[in-house]
Symmetry: C2
Subunit: 321 residues, 2 copies
């Protein structure tokens, strides 16, 4: 019986595909940029390409796998394998798209399941990573946007299907405009997309930064987490300022979530969280402190231990058993 | 077998005691102002006095009851019946006090259980009131402070014991100072205590209001929910402005909680919520709307149907069966 599985982490900038065995060991992988020009179908094609390459890397046929799981942004209907409003992935992904069925028919995989990216990422940290041993966990994924996964009493919590939008908790009424169009969301300060818009705006205003020079040197057209990290290493003033601003907003938003839910542990993941690492997890702890109502008993705030592969490992958990 | 029970709602301004039968019908009640001058023991004495009066009103001996439940602010240890840091009740309630044992020994009640006020209030709305039929409920109690109770998947959620501090979610970084000492908490705008401090400050600055005149006419020394409601009826400019400001903060904070948890229903209770009623629940719905991430699918936002007695009815549920 096939116990080898595929896992896909669909992100705003990249598609990470892995093949794992029954013990979650990675047998093969591939990483492609997220296609931006052909809508949801183009993204499905990109997923199939990355998955096929990862299967070849592992030396297995896609059809021989027990199945493939996909972690996706947007509103996910797990039963039907559909995804709605994943505009961070591709701008015209506004309606509903049957991502699971599209990948199944094009890839030859016997079973395809779709879950919410941050939920599967949190589940991965809970089963395999930094949150092992806790029952109540808030996973915070700091990347293009800021999303959260919740494990409450040992079970995934999705509410009516749309829980975890920590990035759109209000931390500053009357404050910055978010990429979602609302005002004062945490993501308006902390999301990498919003941070890039702010950086571009500041450059237009005459401020200097190495961010876009590093971007051009790398042949990219947007500011990846690696570019932000590199600019920080170069002591870039604007990068330091905007990351500091992001951390302050994360502190307020995560502390607010903790005040409401009183979870045991918070795991920081996502592209920026993973790339900036433990020194910035410490800065997030410090930024939470002034807003924690029970500040003598903070939750355990930990860096993701699965890092870049956490989302794909969690997606592969969707098709385990 | 005795199935008649007592329920006590301990608030920042009053102690509400009721005696109920097995069908939650109120057989007797009493309402006393919360003693402010003799610390936690004075509060325990006040609870016993109100409870004894309610029992007499119902024509039963305290010792003949199946038990009495107490809903208390602060950090509650249900196992031990202790309450820590209930400064909204009496200013020097900073340490731990064994409220349950103190009430048991002085009242002659056979069983005393203590729960968190907003948790038992939410449980009452879930079992008996506005939240019947929902599995996932956020109860928001708008009074001296702003607290929340959570029912998730049909079960009370308390986290590590301190969940529900919705009043200390950050809605405006760098904003108003909260009575808790922190900055920008929702309660800094919406809590009745903070609102009174702001009103006194504005009067010192030369602004006019009928709030304190109504307070004096009623022989009170603080602004109760009834005083705020009466000032609104008199079209008092300051009262209208500060209530409007409170509603805006409630909208941002409750929407943030919904974005994180995606509950089915929100119940608005507490002294101010109950007194101002449905027109202000509608204003809260409107204030939530611009901050809801999935604004096409808002939760059902309802006024508490148990009103002033909800907390005491929920407290009595603590000793049912």
């Amino acid at each position: 019986m096939a116990t080898t599985r595929g896992g896909i982490d669909l992100g705003g900038t990249k598609i990470q595909a892995i093949i794992v065995d029954d013990d979650h060991q990675v047998l093969g992988q591939a990483r492609h940029p997220t296609p931006k020009n052909n809508g949801p179908q183009g993204v499905a094609d990109g997923i199939v390409a990355a998955f096929t390459e990862a299967a070849a890397d592992a030396g297995v046929e896609p059809s021989a796998l027990a199945g493939v799981g996909i972690g996706s942004p947007g509103a996910v209907d797990e039963q039907r394998g559909t995804v709605t409003q994943a505009r961070n992935v591709t701008p015209d992904w506004t309606g509903e798209f049957a991502l699971g069925p599209a990948v199944a028919s094009a890839s030859g995989a016997s079973k395809v399941k779709v879950g919410h990216d941050v939920t599967v990422g949190t589940q991965a940290e809970y089963v395999l990573g930094a949150a092992r041993g806790f029952d109540d966990v808030l996973g915070v994924f700091w990347g293009t946007g800021v999303g959260a996964g919740l494990i409450l009493g040992g079970k995934i919590w999705v509410g009516r299907g749309a829980a975890g939008e920590i990035g759109h908790m209000v931390v500053e009424r009357g404050g910055a405009k978010c990429t979602c169009g609302r005002i004062g969301c945490m993501e308006a300060y902390s999301g990498r997309k919003a941070m890039e818009l702010e950086a571009r705006h500041r450059v237009e205003q005459g401020e200097h930064t190495k961010l876009f020079k590093i971007m051009e040197e790398r042949g990219r057209d947007q500011l990846s987490s690696g570019i932000w990290a590199r600019a920080m290493e170069h002591d870039d003033h604007m990068a330091k300022h905007l990351i500091g601003r992001a951390v302050k907003a994360l502190g307020a938003g995560i502390a607010s979530a903790v005040n409401l839910l009183d979870v045991q542990a918070v795991v920081i993941g996502g592209g920026l969280g993973t790339r900036l690492g433990e020194p910035y997890v410490e800065k997030i702890r410090e930024a939470m402190h002034p807003h924690l109502f029970v500040d003598q008993n903070p939750p355990d705030v930990r860096l993701s231990t699965l890092g870049d592969l956490g989302g794909a490992l969690g997606a592969a958990l969707l098709v385990k058993d």
